[in-house]
């Protein structure tokens, strides 16, 4: 296959990925947000979706960041950013918070990823060269959520595909990712591997395939991401 350069000028911004992902959150879902890019999602969720955001540190019903004068060191999200509570929020301790995460009441988790494999395996806690890594709540949350949405750039800083046939990085959880949202495409993880469903405007299926280390099936109704 001839080299296809990364279409840098057509890649989606982080905000555009978040905007697209937010559309897939079903009304009344209970959703956990990983730290970093996933937290952008809150900006694009509509009030009528009435998403209940869960933060691993015991917040059920996390609201948007407060104005500077209302910031409270006792009310931050998992990424240590200031947050608020929605009306009808509940606070629990860490063990109860992870009971929720593992116990089947988390409809969706939005997590960053170093790698995702075609069977849904997720790697996001340690790079192969590192002596140790950061697990945080990711293993429990990826294991417990009904849907895991991976939100990430399509390739890493070295230009290497992050969507692979099998993981080459240490796994966070097996067969958990259900959908991948990148700066190039929206790809579902099916029993049959990756299904390319949407591409960023101006990016072709061939371009996405070239920057993916696993075979992509292409949806019959392949369409542009409405970004």
């Amino acid at each position: 296959m001839k080299n296809i350069p990364l279409p840098i000028d057509r890649l989606l911004s982080r905000d555009s990925i978040a905007k697209r992902l937010a559309v897939d959150l079903q009304p009344d879902w209970v959703v956990n947000l990983g730290i970093g890019m996933p937290t952008l999602t809150t900006k694009y969720v509509k009030a009528e979706q009435d998403i209940v955001f869960h933060s691993e540190n015991g917040i059920i019903g996390m609201g948007p960041p407060p104005p500077a004068e209302s910031q409270d060191d006792d009310l931050r999200d998992a990424g240590k950013n200031f947050c608020t509570l929605i009306p009808g929020a509940a606070l629990v301790h860490h063990a109860d918070s992870f009971s929720l995460a593992r116990g089947g009441r988390l409809d969706c988790a939005i997590l960053g990823a170093f790698q995702v494999a075609a069977n849904g395996d997720l790697a996001n806690w340690r790079l192969p060269g590192d002596p140790t890594g950061n697990i945080g709540g990711a293993m429990d949350i990826a294991t417990g959520a009904k849907e895991v949405f991976a939100m990430m750039t399509h390739v890493n800083k070295n230009g290497e595909p992050k969507l692979t046939e099998k993981l080459t990085y240490p796994a966070t959880a097996l067969s958990c990712v259900t959908r991948v949202f990148t700066d190039m495409a929206v790809i579902s993880v099916t029993d049959d591997g990756y299904l390319l469903e949407e591409t960023a405007p101006g990016i072709s299926a061939e371009e996405v395939q070239f920057h993916t280390d696993a075979k992509l099936k292409v949806a019959a109704n392949l369409r542009d991401i409405a970004a």
């Binding site: 059920i60 009808g88 089947g104």
Partner: protein, 225 residues
Amino acid sequence: MKNKKRDSIPAALEAVQDGDTVFFGGFGTGGVPIALIKGLTDKKLSGLTIVSNNAGAGHNTIATLLQSGAVKKVICTFPYSRGSVIFNDLYHSGKIELELVPQGTLAERMRAGGSGLGGFLTPTGLGTEIAEGKPHIDVDGKTYVLEKALRADIALIKAHNVDLRGNLTYRLAARNFNPVMAMAAEYTIAQVSAEVPLGEIDPESVHTPGVYVDTYVIDKGEYDE
């Protein structure tokens, strides 16, 4: 926001089906969802497995449900009491199965089920009939019994206050099994005394977060004796 409120006991019980495993909250007279249990009896289901601290006494709600023939199995901690005549008759005539569980183990099995765990290692029951046939596992030189998580299709619970999101508080010792049952059921139905405006329950004092409550109904007393 999802409408979790139902206007009648029968409407609240719509999800319960033949063959379901059903948790009943309560301990003694506190926190028993009497209206829901009576409504369940009226529904005339069959093949239920019920999980409750007791197995009914006299002609109270659980005893009446047992007598109706809806129940094939009881999981409980304390089946016999001075008045548990109906359970005794059904059990001795082989018409009902019994699984006897220590009370702390029962509560912990539910909590494990609600927490996505497969089970836990407990010292309770070691060397007794309760541990027979169960795996024994040594941790750091101490032997424990492996008890399995317990989940149900339905939890029928009783709470004091509820808000639109289904957040619950319980009065005094009426809390008992209700919170862990709410956690460990596929579908949780709460009978409540009163509904309060959203935001009125202090987020720091919520006993059962609304994410665990699928449906609630205000007890208007129509099932009282």
